[in-house]
Structure formats: C-alpha cells, structure tokens
C-alpha cells in the first residue's frame, strides 16, 4: 500500500486504474475534468489497457458507456452538474438495460443561475433513474467507493449502475493523504467482470433496448426494484469483504458520537467533516450532539438510519439540495420513513460556505424550532 497526498479526483482515477475498465468514454466539465485527464494519461502511458473515447457531449459519453457495457465489458465514465443533467434520459436506459456502469459525479450546482460550485442538486435530481448512489466524505472514500461499486453493480443479484458522488472543488480540487491499495489486493477483491446475461454476444445473438408493451414493461421495472432491494444485502457483504481485505470500514451510515445524543445531525458528503469538528467542540461543552453520516443514498438505508437515531430527542437533516415546495430530499425521505421529530435545513447551495457557526446554529434551531425547514446562511432572511 502507498499513501499519497492527492485530490479526490486523483483518488478516483487511481481507483479506476485499479478496477481496469475496458472502455472509458468521457467529456470534460468543471470540476470533473481532471479525472478524465488523469485517465487519459494512464491509458497513453500504458498503465491501464482501456479504450479511451473522448466524445462531443455528455449525452454521447453515457450513450457510449451503455453501448460498451451492453457488450459485456467493464465501463467507467465521469461527469458533473449540467453534464449529468444532459445524461438524464440515458441514465434511465443504463439502469433499465441493467448495465453495471460505474460513474463518478463531481457534485456541482445546476443552472440557472449558472454556477460551477458545489451542491448536491445534480445527483439528487437523478435519484429516480435506477442508479445506486453513494456520497463520499473524502478522497479515501472516493477511491474505496469506486472499487466497491463495481463489485456491487456487477453482482448478478443487482446489475444496476452506480454513481459515486464527490463534492466539487471541496474534494475534487483539494489534496489529502489517500491510501492506494496494491493491484494484487484489488484483483483479489474485484476480479474481472464476467457478464452473465443481457449483453451482446456474437455467439448468441440477442436484442437490447427493445420495446416493451404494457404486458411486459411493469415487470421489467419491478425487477429493477427487486434488484435495488437485494442490493442492500450485497452492499453489506461487499463492505464486510472490503474491510477484511483493506482494513477500512464503511457502512450505509456512520454514527459519530451518537451515543446518548439528544440531537443528531444527519448529512451526506464532505460537510460531515465540518460537522465532526462541531460535534467534538459541543461535546466538550457538555452538549449532547452527534452526527449520522449517510453514505448510501440509493438504495435508501431507512432501517440503518432509524436504528441510529431512534433514541435521539430530535434530528436535524442537512440537505445541499432543494425539492422546491417540499424541502431537501434527504429530509423529506427521512420524514416519510422514520418516526423521530426532525427538522430540515437547506445549506450550501451553489457553493455557499457552511461554517462551524452555521452547524451550531442548526443545533440551536433544532433545540428551539420555529419551522420545519430553514435555509441556513442566506445573506438576509427572505
């Protein structure tokens, strides 16, 4: 194992190199571009034996990914924001065709107004496409998640694509130590992809992407739901196997100082690092607060979340996204599934800073609630 001080984009690229996809179709977009650039270099240097396709748009990138995956090979692509939005219709196709594609998404706000800065609106807006989604806190998790996602997506009980979501700039363009596992170890964890069904094989010709009339369509969608539910068991198994081989533990959710906590903050992605510091600080001052980090967003880990927060008096859910007229996606889903008094906070849209003071403010607003959903960090209360 080698520890390198690298950006999360570089960590993703290293993971992809270790996972050895045969086809990589990409298109540049800030702040994802450097993932594609590192991969271009690996391919050119012969570090990875992949077909690298630079296409003319993200729509083409994911379409090429679907085509390649449809021939039964391992595929990687990466994008961000408007690029992910442009991929929208093909994301449904990838999931429906049961292509185990893994994609990195550098989380960035959506226009309008135009913004290149971070929030989660882009990937949250793809929630219902049938892709599994994982949100990472740091570069190490980004690397680990790419490897795990291939194993989960390619499992024959799952066969759904995965999206690894990493916060734009906050993770993609900052460096930190990342443990890069050896190829031998990764090979023992993630063997070559062996397609079983639903791929084009000249020896056994078949059709992909065909029409399904009302006699068939609903069953196809139901099978996707069954696969998404089954994936929970596979994710658990893969997390366990990953821990045994690489020594790093990840689960659907991570509890941080939740024992005896009266208030638990629930969040996804890099903001969890800020929250940890605030939790430590407040614990030092005798305040009983904790953090629950949600890693897997699809499939939605309602059971794990409930187990973690059921003893808290109240929970505060932080969302870097907004479903207008309803609230943040994580908050509304927790409200729908988990019977604990909860409050929603919309934070950090379009790269608005989230400071420790904001987090403490959220705790205070949860202790003394005025409304169900509060926007934090607005220049003035609108």
């Amino acid at each position: 194992m080698v520890v390198k001080v690298i950006s999360a984009n570089q960590a993703v690229s290293n993971a992809v190199k270790l996972a050895k996809p045969q086809v990589i179709p990409v298109y540049p977009i800030t702040p994802q571009t450097s993932i594609s650039e590192y991969l271009a270099k690996y391919v050119a240097d012969g570090d990875i034996d992949s077909e690298y396709i630079m296409v003319e748009s993200e729509h083409s990138a994911i379409s090429a990914a679907v085509g390649a995956s449809g021939t039964g090979v391992r595929v990687f692509t990466a994008t961000s924001s408007q690029g992910l939005a442009l991929m929208h219709e093909i994301l449904f196709a990838a999931a429906g065709l049961r292509n185990p594609i893994v994609m990195a998404n550098a989380n960035r706000a959506l226009a309008a107004p135009l913004s290149i800065w971070n929030d989660h609106q882009d990937s949250i807006s793809q929630r219902d496409t049938g892709w599994m989604q994982i949100y990472v806190e740091n570069g190490q998790e980004a690397l680990d998640s790419i490897l795990k996602c291939y194993k989960i997506s390619e499992d024959h009980d799952v066969l759904l694509p995965s999206m690894v979501c990493l916060d734009g700039f906050i993770l993609t363009h900052t460096v930190e130590p990342v443990d890069i596992p050896s190829q031998e170890l990764v090979d023992s964890f993630l063997p070559d992809y062996q397609p079983q069904e639903s791929f084009l094989d000249p020896l056994n010709p078949r059709s992909l992407g065909t029409f399904a009339d009302p006699n068939y369509y609903m069953e196809a969608r139901y099978q996707m739901e069954v696969a998404m539910q089954k994936s929970k068991k596979i994710i658990k198994k893969v997390n366990q196997e990953f821990k045994e081989i690489f020594g790093r533990e990840n689960s659907f959710v991570e509890e941080y100082r939740c024992e005896g906590a009266e208030i638990i903050l629930v969040a996804m992605g890099s903001i969890c690092s800020t929250i940890r510091d605030v939790v430590d600080d407040m614990r030092d001052r005798g305040k009983k607060v904790g953090l629950l980090k949600v890693s897997n967003y699809r499939p939605f880990p309602e059971k794990e979340i409930f187990e973690a927060v059921k003893n808290a008096d109240r929970i505060a859910v932080l969302d870097k996204n907004i479903s207008f007229g309803m609230g943040g996606a994580l908050y509304t889903e927790i409200r729908a599934n988990i019977d604990v008094e909860s409050y929603g906070f919309i934070v950090g849209l379009g790269g608005r800073d989230i400071t420790p003071n904001h987090i403490e403010d959220i705790v205070n607003k949860t202790l003394n609630p005025i409304k169900k959903i509060t926007w934090i960090g607005l220049k003035e209360e609108v």
Partner: protein, 292 residues
C-alpha cells in the same frame, strides 16, 4: 454610431491576456455601430465557453444559454420578436460539438439571426482539450497521443445544408472582419461567421503566427453565389497542402426566413408579447363552430 455605446462599464473581463476574444469583441462592436443598431434592439445569445462570455461584455439584451444551446434560444427569441437583431455567439466546441445538432437544424430552418463562432480549435474554458475543429495530431491532456479525428468543417457543412450566408474571418484582421460581420448582420436569413482566433494559453500549435501563415483571402473576383464552387473553396486548407481561405464563401438571397414562414407574421410584425387577444373575433369563431 460610436462603438462605445456597447461598452459595459466596469466589466471584469475574464479572458487571458492575448486572447483573440478581445479583438472579436472590439470588431463586433464596430460592425454593430456601423449598422447603427441601438443596444436595446440587439439581443446577444450565447452558450458556454470563453466565447460564451462575450455577451457579458457588450451592452445589449443578453441571454446566456447552456452548453451547446445558443442557436435554439436565439431562434425562439427571433420567433417571438422578429424586429430584434439577434446575434448568437459561441465557440467551436459549443456550436459544432455539444450544439452540433442545433447548428445543422438551425441552418435548415433559416431564422434571420447572425451566428458568430469563435474558432480557436481548442476548448478554452475546460483548459485545453481538443474541440471538433482541432487539427489532426494536436496533443492535449485528453488526446495525449494527438487528435486523430477529421476536423469538423463548419463552412462545408453549412454550405451543403443550404445556409444562406457563410463566411470565415480572422480575429487578427479587424478591418476585414468588421466588413464581413456587417454583411452577415445585414443578410436576411441565417448567417454563419466562423472566426479564427488564437488561444495563446491552451493552443500552442495554432498560434497567431500559424493562422497568419495558413490563411488567405478569397480573391476579389470570387463570386459567392455558386454552391458547388463555394463548397470547393470551403474544403481548402493546410490538410489539402493549401491554406484556409477567408471571406464570404456563399450567399443565397431570397429564401424565406423562418419567421416569414410563421403565420403569426403574415399580416403584422408586432412582437408576440405586445399582441392582445381579439375577443370579438374569438367569440365569432367559437359561435361559428357551434353552428356546425
């Protein structure tokens, strides 16, 4: 008219020193001033890229669309108010790559808009990857071993699709480019002006000097009214052991514009947002149908 009418006060221009965009911005302002187009009658529409920022620096109505999407909003704007001067401006990546489909079908639709394309043969905004017009063998962080794809030829595509005004200019020649842009804006129907420009930061191959060495102007005797001849000149270039011709390649007069094909403008030019429903007429229409 003084080109200063289009100046944006205190604009914080986010282009690199030496960028060809500065010259294009200046030239465009001069051409528009020559035509005495008041800023309030001008709509600048762009997509994403370094060229896509140009409308931010010109006093006019501005619509900044998404990547690849300058021509479709421009068509929509023109359709709802045909009295406006609509100029769609973006780069080679945005117009010919991500927006390639819109480029083709806008030409076929022939709205009376001017399409200015900054062509620096590279993606500037995302820092130096190959664009559709990048020349073969250009090495970039994405095309590590060099570009192998045939460069997109916007002029040949536009001419073959029946574009009614097709020209190419060079950012380094302000006076000639000014004249070309003027004629393009004056032209009734879709007009394409592809403007070669150096990108000193990300394209170290197609530099100012490279363009100077690889361009020449169509001779004065050239008549831009023959499609086949225009196509022949449009495919000339260094790859054919020649140079890129500049100037107006093709003009077709008299073809109905997109707006002229819309029934709403058959009788009056009034913009759609200023029209009111003629309730008496509507009532009569409804009554007439009831009788049947």
């Amino acid at each position: 008219m003084n080109p200063e009418v289009y100046d944006m006060q205190n604009a914080d221009v986010a282009w690199c020193p030496g960028c060809g965009n500065f010259a294009i911005l200046k030239t465009l302002k001069m051409a528009l001033a020559d035509l005495e187009i008041p800023p309030e009658n001008l709509v600048m529409v762009s997509g994403i890229g370094q060229a896509g920022k140009l409308p931010h620096y010109i006093k006019s109505n501005v619509f900044n669309g998404l990547h690849g999407r300058s021509l479709s909003p421009a068509t929509g704007i023109k359709a709802s108010n045909k009295n406006m001067n609509v100029v769609a401006v973006s780069g080679d990546g945005c117009t010919y790559g991500e927006g390639g489909n819109h480029f083709m079908h806008t030409i076929r639709r022939n709205p009376d808009i001017t399409n200015i394309v900054h062509n620096n043969m590279v993606y500037g905004l995302t820092k130096g990857q190959a664009s559709p017009t990048s020349q073969i063998n250009l090495k970039t962080p994405f095309q590590v071993d060099g570009v192998f794809e045939e460069p997109f030829n916007p002029l040949a595509v536009a001419i073959s699709l029946g574009a009614t005004f097709v020209a190419r200019a060079f950012a380094g020649d302000i006076e000639k480019t000014r004249k070309i842009i003027k004629k393009a804006v004056e032209h009734k129907g879709y007009s394409l002006v592809d403007i070669f420009q150096p990108c000193p930061t990300f394209n170290k191959v197609n530099t100012f000097q490279w363009f100077k060495n690889n361009i020449y102007y169509l001779e004065d005797s050239y008549k831009p009214h023959n499609k086949a001849k225009a196509l022949k000149r449009a495919v000339e270039g260094p790859h054919e052991s020649g140079k890129f011709p500049l100037g107006i390649f093709y003009i077709k007069e008299g073809l109905k514009t997109f707006e002229e094909n819309l029934s709403v403008y058959e009788k009056v030019d009034t913009p759609l947002f200023k029209r009111e429903v003629d309730r008496d007429k509507l009532k009569k229409l409804i009554e007439s149908k009831k009788k049947i």
